[in-house]
């Protein structure tokens, strides 16, 4: 683009016209609703959901005072880190495999897409069905195969339940990561590898010195969006345990859902979501400052 030409007013305004439709769309349908959340977070809200006046930080104070909040926050952080990190690692390894030429690759890739093409509520329902101790499909299968003789309790503790929920989260997130990574892999010029082979570099040396650095940028944006989506994910935990027992498997979103719609505390629920937003904002800002700046320059 030629930047030496003097900018006229029209030229200066032009970029804004190009982004205008997108800004309008997002402002009306997302930013205004976000405004409502903030209003509620600082308002006194009746159980039926009517806003009755300014409440200052009372909602936040109540939330932070609650004995459950710390536990729920810890769960959310464990959930987000486990799902994002493991799905990224596994998705990346799967992408490395699928990047090889082999018979049936097209079918294998199509299969990887499956978990993405199914609504989360249904996915979670199926998993709940699979791990059930009494009529679960996994026990039935293992019994039929003769691997176990009586039903195994796959979820003896709340932690085990949470583990399964995390596994389910990873399962549904892998396709997204896999395809993002796969695209990055395919863009790598094969001459890099040829040169490295001549230099006598082994497979793992090539992986760490060539592949990873080149794929990294393609994964960063995807990872940030992924963190946001996983942090706010609702259907998996809700379908499998609803946060039971005693909030041991609650994340912020299931917790605030119960506050809002089971307990009639919509002001506090809004406060929880604002706290979640601030956490994400801090994480994203750190990312913005480091990765994005580097990329822009």
């Amino acid at each position: 683009m030629n930047t030496s030409k003097p900018y006229t007013l029209v030229r200066k305004a032009e970029p804004y016209l190009w982004i205008l439709p997108s800004i309008i769309l997002m402002s009306i349908f997302i930013i205004i609703p976000i405004g409502f959340v903030f209003r509620m977070a600082f308002s006194e809200v009746t159980k039926a959901g009517l806003v009755k006046g300014f409440a200052g930080i009372e909602n936040f104070a109540k939330v932070l005072k609650s004995a459950k909040f710390g536990l729920v926050l810890k769960n959310t952080i464990v959930w987000t880190i486990m799902v994002v990190v493991l799905s990224t690692v596994l998705g990346f390894i799967l992408a490395l495999l699928l990047n090889n030429e082999f018979k049936g690759r097209k079918i294998a890739r199509a299969i990887v897409v499956f978990p993405w093409a199914t609504t989360l509520v249904i996915q979670a329902s199926v998993w709940k069905f699979i791990i059930d101790i009494d009529y679960g499909a996994l026990n039935t299968l293992l019994k039929t195969l003769g691997i176990i003789s009586s039903n195994v309790n796959w979820t003896p503790t709340p932690e085990a339940y949470f583990g399964w929920e995390i596994a389910c989260g990873i399962f549904v997130t892998i396709p997204f990561v896999c395809f993002t990574a796969l695209s990055g892999l395919q863009s790598i010029d094969s001459s890099y590898y040829e040169a490295a082979t001549v230099d006598g570099a082994g497979y793992f040396q090539q992986l760490f010195n060539i592949t990873l650095p080149l794929v990294k940028p393609s994964l960063t944006v995807a990872t940030v969006l992924n963190i946001i989506y996983v942090f706010n994910s609702f259907p998996i935990v809700w379908t499998i345990t609803k946060g039971d027992p005693a909030s041991r498997t609650d994340t912020l979103v299931t917790y605030l859902y119960k506050l809002a719609f089971y307990n009639g505390k919509q002001g506090e629920a809004a406060a929880v979501s604002v706290i979640g937003f601030l956490i994400l904002l801090v994480c994203a800002s750190v990312y913005m400052v480091s990765t994005l700046k580097k990329g822009e320059d």
């Binding site: 009746t46 159980k47 039926a48 959901g49 009517l50 806003v51 101790i133 009494d134 009529y135 009586s150 309790n153 979820t155 709340p158 339940y161 499998i240 345990t241 609803k242 946060g243 039971d244 027992p245 005693a246 909030s247 041991r248 119960k258 809002a260 719609f261 089971y262 307990n263 009639g264 919509q266």
Partner: protein
């Protein structure tokens, strides 16, 4: 490649256009869908020639046939009442609170709502007293004890649409094989459970549901049959009474002794019902629907009995009641009359009995009772049970907190916390 893209883009555009077109279509084909919104501004503007009065309603989806039944009701009602346009939106129980709260928060409350709770709406002054919108003739049909459950400040704010009561369901074959009788006390219950476990370790002797779904019922089953409960005679919260502590310890004890299903905090009443019908659970407390359910699914040999009590303490069944309420949407006389017409038509003996039978609940009106008892002899016994049932203190403003509170207590105690401490904390939280 290019062709493919072009084709796709074209397809997407076409679909987009169809979508815009289609959005208009339902308005034309099905005026009832768009009418309420269209009517709102029209009310201020000069009225069109023959304007219809619209009544909107949100109804809870009790079963697979609920939605169909309401469609039929709408058609019949509109045929009989030319000037009224009835719009019923049937919403599943999973989602009804989300849907209703979203609409209320936006000032778009339905005219009539069929749901379980009412106190929160009443507290915000959103409801009209039942006298305003229920005709005298219909009002006279309800059992007074049911109407009492919806009183706040001496005014009845909602009318019952149906009721359900809980009883002990047992698998007669399993009990016989294990050589035991139906338990009537807590002590017997434990002995029977142990005998069943000794007979076949694969069977869960006792079904327990402590989930967020309906854990408060579990609390009530044991608290009420131990002389405890949520409130005292004057209506003060008594959550940490000695009876309640004993009740919580008793039921958690059964779970810890391995006499129940493995996962009471995630296995809901529906899971238990499936397992009872397939002979995996020997006994459970449940509503009358289980009978029909068992008969439709394999037909085990089941029996029904009263809930076991602690020693010789007075027993009580747990009654559950849902309601119909009317929101104060600033009605004209014509609109109010239309609402009354809908309510009258719904509680008209024949359609009402048909509805209650279809949903397999218990009727809330005396005339409905007679018709239902005629059609289904099994119901007569249940109608007696509901007569002795206690109801949740749902008219109290703190009820939602108490409900989730006792569920949390059960789950915490199961995880090893102390029942007394937990209930003390809850009591302090609610009443303190």
């Amino acid at each position: 490649m290019k062709k493919l893209i072009a084709l796709l883009l074209a397809l997407v555009m076409v679909i987009g256009l169809v979508a815009c077109g289609n959005n208009e279509a339902p308005a034309a084909d099905a005026p009832e869908a768009e009418a309420p919104k269209a009517d709102a501004p029209a009310a201020d503007a000069p009225a069109a020639s023959d304007e219809k009065v619209t009544v909107t309603m949100i109804a809870a989806q009790y079963g697979n046939e609920t939605a169909d039944w309401w469609v039929g009701f709408e058609e019949k009602f509109e045929a009989a009442n030319n000037g009224i346009d009835l719009v019923v939106d049937v919403v599943s129980w999973n989602d009804i609170y989300t849907v209703v709260n979203t609409r209320i928060a936006n000032g778009e409350a339905p005219d009539l709502l069929n749901i379980d709770v009412f106190a929160d709406y009443q507290a915000d002054g959103l409801l009209l007293p039942a006298e305003d919108w229920v005709s005298e003739e219909t009002y006279a049909k309800f059992f007074p004890s049911f109407l009492e459950q919806s009183i706040v400040d001496d005014v009845v704010w909602a009318v019952p649409d149906l009721a359900s009561a809980r009883a002990l369901y047992y698998n007669a074959d399993i009990l016989e094989a294990a050589g035991v009788e139906v338990p009537t006390t807590w002590e017997e219950l434990k002995t029977v459970c142990e005998a069943i476990k000794a007979y076949d370790a694969e069977i869960y002797p006792w079904g327990v549901d402590m989930t967020t779904d309906e854990g408060q019922a579990c609390f009530a089953y044991y608290a009420w049959n131990n002389g405890g409960g949520f409130v005292d005679e004057e209506g003060n919260w008594t959550l940490n009474s000695a009876e309640n502590v004993e009740a919580v310890n008793y039921i958690v004890g059964l779970v810890k002794d391995g006499l129940t299903n493995t996962d009471p905090t995630t296995e809901t009443r529906y899971d238990l019902q499936e397992m009872f019908a397939s002979g995996k659970v020997a006994m459970m407390i449940g509503p009358n629907q289980i009978s029909k359910y068992c008969e439709a699914n394999g037909g085990i040999n089941y029996g029904i009995a009263s809930l076991p009590t602690n020693g010789d303490k007075a027993g009580a069944s747990v009654g559950v009641m849902d309601r119909i309420m009317c929101f104060d949407n600033g009605y004209t006389d014509a609109e109010m009359a239309a609402v009354t017409a809908v309510v009258d038509a719904f509680y008209d003996d024949e359609p009402y009995a048909e509805w209650v039978l279809m949903e397999d609940f218990l009727p809330a009106t005396s005339s409905g009772n007679e018709l239902c008892a005629q059609a289904n002899p099994g119901m007569a016994a249940w109608i007696d049970v509901i007569g002795s049932a206690k109801f949740y203190p749902a008219a109290k403003a703190e009820w939602a907190d108490v409900k989730l509170g006792v569920i949390d207590v059960l789950q915490q105690v199961l995880l090893g916390e102390d029942a007394q401490t937990m209930l003390d904390d809850l009591q302090a939280d609610i009443a303190g």
